[in-house]
């Protein structure tokens, strides 16, 4: 083996190691770049008024996004009420009861539903919940987000239930528990932490969805009482303000972006921390 060959092989090794490392570094830095950029631009416009006041008319400076923040929370509440129970029950069905063929179909359909572009979900919600009543509403937006929550919840619930050892189920059944009793009193509690995390992450994911809200919840410059009227929401207001012509709007859009990202990050990191601590306490 020649000396040259050895040097070539060594430098190739170093080169590839550097390339993979740089790629990994890039991935990590993207998040921090976004975060830094948002903090830099949005932090300046973030003040108490942002959380408590309604938008001011164009031309006047100041004002806030109280209506969009409340609107987003209401939409998420609806999405949770609609999507989480269906997702949870379907996940339980797939993990605990399902027959072979129907389970396969359900699982496959769920994955497809997960892959449906969010704007298409929006059109669906539009035709189901907007057209019949002939106006945009908070409910229609919550329905669209709820549909998106379902597939994520189904798959995470199923996975966490499958991770519960079968010996626990046998233990409960050997004491005379029925199948449903076993699931409700032993299996679900054992998988509780994971299932709740999955649910929160699915809500955090749809919290930032804009497309399905554009023609369901639409937008609103004012507060939206009840569930039957169009409502502002953080992502839609962000979209409207960012593409608008006013500097004041741009600043508020940055702030909205920061609040949205903070919401998602807190949900993500928070549940992960809670889960790992809970897991340690349970000895898992």
């Amino acid at each position: 083996m020649s000396r040259l060959n050895l040097i070539w092989r060594k430098s190739l090794n170093v080169l590839m190691l550097t390339l993979t490392g740089v790629a990994a570094l890039l991935v990590v830095s993207v998040l921090f770049l976004i975060l830094g950029y948002l903090l830099w631009n949005g932090g300046k416009s973030l003040n108490w008024a942002f959380f408590t006041q309604l938008p001011k008319p164009v031309g006047e400076s100041g004002g806030g996004m109280a209506n969009a923040i409340i609107g987003s929370l209401k939409l998420l509440l609806l999405a949770a009420l609609i999507g989480l129970p269906i997702g949870l029950l379907t996940g339980v069905y797939l993990a605990e009861f399902g027959g072979k063929t129907f389970s396969f179909i359900t699982r496959y359909t769920t994955d497809l539903l997960n892959g449906v572009p969010s704007i298409v979900i929006g059109i669906f919600a539009y035709s189901v919940a907007v057209l019949p009543v002939k106006h945009f509403s908070t409910f229609a937006g919550g329905f669209a987000l709820g549909v998106m929550v379902i597939p994520i919840t189904v798959r995470s619930t199923e996975e966490f239930l499958r991770a519960v050892p079968g010996t626990l189920r046998e233990g409960a059944m050997a004491l005379g528990a029925s199948k449903w009793r076993t699931i409700a009193t032993v299996v679900l509690p054992a998988a509780k932490g994971g299932i709740i995390t999955g649910m929160l992450l699915s809500l955090a994911r749809v919290a930032g969805e804009t497309a399905p809200l554009l023609f369901t919840a639409f937008n609103n410059m004012y507060s939206s009482p009840g569930w039957g009227q169009p409502t502002a929401s953080l992502p839609v207001v962000l979209y409207t303000y960012a593409s608008g012509p006013y500097d004041d709007w741009h600043r508020q859009a940055w702030a909205a972006g920061l609040v949205l990202l903070a919401l998602v990050l807190v949900a993500n990191v928070g549940t992960r921390l809670a889960l790992s601590r809970g897991g340690a306490a349970r000895g898992v």
């Binding site: 010996t167 626990l168 046998e170 050997a174 349970r282």
Partner: protein, 279 residues
Amino acid sequence: MASASQGRESVVPKPEPRVRAIGTTSTVSGKETPVRFQISNLDFFYGPKQAIFGMSLNIPVNKVTAIIGPSGCGKSTFLRTLNRMNDTIRNARFSGNILLDDQDIMGIDVVGLRRRVGMVFQRPNPFPKSIYDNVAYGLRINGYKGRLSELVEHSLRRAALWDEVKDYLHKSAFALSGGQQQRLCIARALAVDPEVLLLDEPCSALDPVTTAKIEELMFQLKDSCTMAIVTHNMQQAARASDFTAFMLDGKLIEHNETSKLFTTPSDPRTEAYITGRFG
């Protein structure tokens, strides 16, 4: 302990008096003994695959019956048939008669059957709940409304675990050691006061000291409980059981008093197995 024992008769949920069973006697290795389980001509199938062939066996009241045999000989399948745990396996079915106190087990509601026939598994499987709630679980799901605490204490005492856990009843069961967890599982099974306790290799995941504790426990439980234990450990079968059944390839080869089976086996295959020539 004394007060717990006195309290027990009045608080333990007991659908029918146990005396009923003693009426049935049968011949086990030449002796007339009251029997708990009478199994005759049992064939067991997983789909098209037959796992047990024409097995007939009597399990005597308040004795320990050990079932030994090489891996895959059907001994666990046999044990799990007795409390119908195999019902949950798709395509599993059996034919033949299994009588518990003269009653066909297929004619007993499966919930009631499992309350009367408790089971302890190979690996300790405590629920992710507190020690107290683990023991109370069986009572709660059976709708028992009484003084749970007394029964929990009584069951933990019967499983020789009370003194070690009495100050930690509300701590997670996962905080216990493997041997303690297994005794907790025994306490959990004892809480509903079963007539029979099925033990499926209960010590295979435990160290020798803990194993000795479980065997000691089985010896104490014999007063009040019929036990059937599947074990890979022949010394354990010899030490802890009154009767031993040797199974091979899904068939019962020999069933006798433990002392006789291990000293003077009548079948050459039994002799070969217990002397360690195969399995």
